[in-house]
Amino acid sequence: MEDTANEVPLVEMRGICKSFPGVRASDEVDLRLERGEVLALLGENGAGKSTLMNILSGLYRQDSGDVFIRGEKVDIRSPRDAADLGIGMVHQNFMLIDTMTVAENVVLGMPSLPFVPDMAVVKRSILELGERYNMTVDPDAYIWQLSVGEQQRVEILKQLYRNAEILVLDEPTAVLTPQESHELNDVVKRMQAEGKSAVFITHKMDEVMAFADRVMVLRKGRVVAEKTTRDTDPKDLARVMVGREVLFHIEKGPFEPGAVVLELKDVCADDERGLPALRELSLSLRAGEILGIAGVAGNGQRELSEVITGLRPVKSGGISINCVDSTNKTPLQIIRSGVSHIPSDRMAVGAVGDMSVANNLAMKDYRAAPISKGIMLLPRRILEFARKMISAFNIATPSPETRVKFLSGGNIQKTILAREIESCGSLLIAVYPSRGLDIGATESVRNELVAQRDAGKAVLLVSEDIDEILSVADTVAVMYDGRAVGVMPTAGADPEEIGLLMAGIDPSEKETRL
């Protein structure tokens, strides 16, 4: 049996096509996965990686094309069919139920579970599995109590519990610290040693090199290259993925900081649940400087941007902008003092999806001439203003009157960026500005931030991507548990050290232990 299995690929997808309204997400895609192999699917956002894997895991149905598992043609109509074939997917947005325990989540949807399950048995096997793969989780914990890294462990345990032979991981490291990524790599390697296979979706080149045996590059729903990782390098992959040479280095003028623009002194603030989110945080940012805030999501970064922009009350401590106290001022007062904000949730806070591009662009300027006169808005002036911005910032939109929600993520972000930069006085706050954007859009967002800094503005950049901070920012501050645990210049900063700080480990302590 083993011999024939070696000849027939474990998974074969042939001529897969799938369209969504207006988009060809998969276009005649062929894919092969051998037993015991880790295959990386590399591509920009919207390249069709997730769509392809959602078809394999039964969440989407292909318009045409065939899927073969162990050489047999199969019809995967639902996630349950996929699970029966040994396919398990760890989704980018975790498929976990917050209000349930780890054990309940692990067994959710398993047809073989008895009508009245014995949860004690389930918990014991979860602990055993956790020990075997070196990723223990408390089976009685509720999902909402777990960190993002732990939640991902639950996702993987869920698939291991079901004896998944083919594990699909959709951008698994996007939310992890570098250390957690290493641990994930160990788990995948252990599974591989047991003869299981994995498909790994990513848009990060170095992960392809670290995790995968073979890589398939997708662009606009088509396969553009297939290589073994031994025969390629990150630069080559990036070129194939984007279809042109990529600038990994950003042109920056010399670092010449001016006067202090933003100063935070011992700021404390609570989150929605009334728990402390910022603990005596102090930072300062000068004109002509980009301060990068690194850290795993949920360590107070969002709250930091909100206290500065007046969206969240400060409990104690003080914030001053251009030497004027701005603690607990209203958002309008803070906007008037020259602060612009690119929020992390671009659809909920940054833009109004059902309004036109033009109206979204004008949203901060509608109070004054030339866009309004008295209480009347002047639609023709708004359109004129919008056309100017659309061409200046290269926003790809069918017309200024198109509703924003129909644009791609990158172009929504460019719309917000255009509006905020246009209205920016002295301080620009950008929270995860390139999250979910493809390389092309990321590049233009980053260049725009640097251009603002070169023009003498102060930029606060919150990012979970260490590489982004190191290439764009002048200074980096690491946030952990509501505090700034390390502030250093990016020139000569060690990514590994930043990673340890992000995980709450003091690097100097680690060295003394070694």
């Binding site: 989704h91 498929m95 917050d98 349930m100 067994v107 959710l108 047809p111 009245v116």
Partner: protein, 316 residues
């Protein structure tokens, strides 16, 4: 019978129909379907079961008809909100509008010629309280045992509904669907089928609550026999925090205040009857406001997260 014992007896009797509908709606809402058609379904359950009992003399058949009518009406709601992805509030309200009007229409047309085709004012077979002999004289226990079969039904239904939801595989699936249908779907739970099933089940139990009114609590048919109980149930589901084990408390509060105000009215108090009649509804509102306030303080208890939202698998 002592005062306490008789109050308990009336409370249980008044709360029975609420318990059926509350548990039914709890299950539907746990599956993410908000059914505002309860009032209409209850009225239809009442009129159809009474008419059946009156003409056939069979209480069993009356129950079957009520279950069928309730299930069918909920099926319409299920079809509109699950398959057609319609707005559940609109769909539910139209079920109530239709049910209220149609039940009233049937009440004026289904009756015998001798009664001017009216069902109002007729007496038919009914579920009488069970005579438990000497046990009926025991304080409190007598009140619990001296009830009709419907009330006996809730003694069984409440623990069973709780056990199913929290201790069985299917209950786990059900809780998952209401919280996060996408996750449930990705884990292999047949989401739409379950939503249909629990919505129809909820409608059947609600109609049973209506049948209890017409066949046992206030035997016979009268216009608006439910007195807005269908709406009270919507509130009781929230009050019980979507836990069938707690459905009894809400029903007991509403039923209990009802019992007390009946007593007061009977004792010839000076408080106007209209005010006393209002009390159970007022209390329900007060309790609801308090609950909502408490819920805002502790974020983790609350309605099933996907309640009222249609689920589309391939929504990007």
């Amino acid at each position: 019978m002592g005062l306490i014992t008789s109050l308990i007896a009336i409370t249980l009797r008044a709360g029975t129909s609420l318990v059926y509908a509350t548990i039914g709606e709890t299950y539907a809402e746990r599956a993410g379907i908000l059914n505002l058609g309860l009032e209409g379904i209850m009225l239809m359950g009442a009129v159809s079961s009474f008419a059946t009992a009156y003409y056939t003399g069979s209480l069993g058949l009356a129950i079957v008809v009520a279950l069928g009518v309730g299930g069918l009406m909920a099926l319409i709601h299920a079809f509109l909100s699950i398959t057609m992805k319609a707005n559940q509030v609109v769909s539910g309200l139209s079920i109530t509008l239709f049910g209220t009007g149609f039940a009233s229409f049937l009440g004026q047309r289904l009756g015998p010629e001798s009664n001017g085709r009216y069902l109002i004012g007729l007496t038919g077979p009914r579920f009488a309280p069970i005579d438990v002999g000497a046990l009926g004289k025991v304080p409190i226990l007598g009140a619990i045992l001296g009830q009709d079969l419907f009330t006996y039904g809730i003694y069984l239904l409440i623990p069973l509904a709780w056990f199913y939801l929290y201790r069985t595989k299917n209950g786990l699936w059900l809780r998952a669907i209401g919280e996060n249908p996408r996750t449930a779907d990705a884990m292999g739970v047949a989401v739409d089928r379950a939503k249909y099933g629990y919505t129809v089940f909820g409608g059947m139990l609600t109609a049973l609550g209506g049948a209890h009114l017409a066949l046992a609590y206030t035997p016979g048919w009268s216009e608006n026999i439910t007195g807005g109980r269908g709406w009270i149930v919507i509130a009781l589901v929230i009050f019980s925090m979507w836990n069938p084990g707690r459905a009894i408390t809400g029903a007991l509060i509403f039923g209990g205040i009802n019992a007390v105000q009946f007593r007061l009215q009977a004792s010839g108090t000076n408080v106007p009857a209209a005010f006393l009649n209002m009390l159970p509804y007022l209390a329900t509102i007060v309790v609801l406001v308090a609950i909502t306030w408490w819920e805002a303080l502790s974020k983790r208890v609350g309605s099933p997260a996907s309640l009222g939202q249609p689920y589309v698998r391939e929504d990007k």
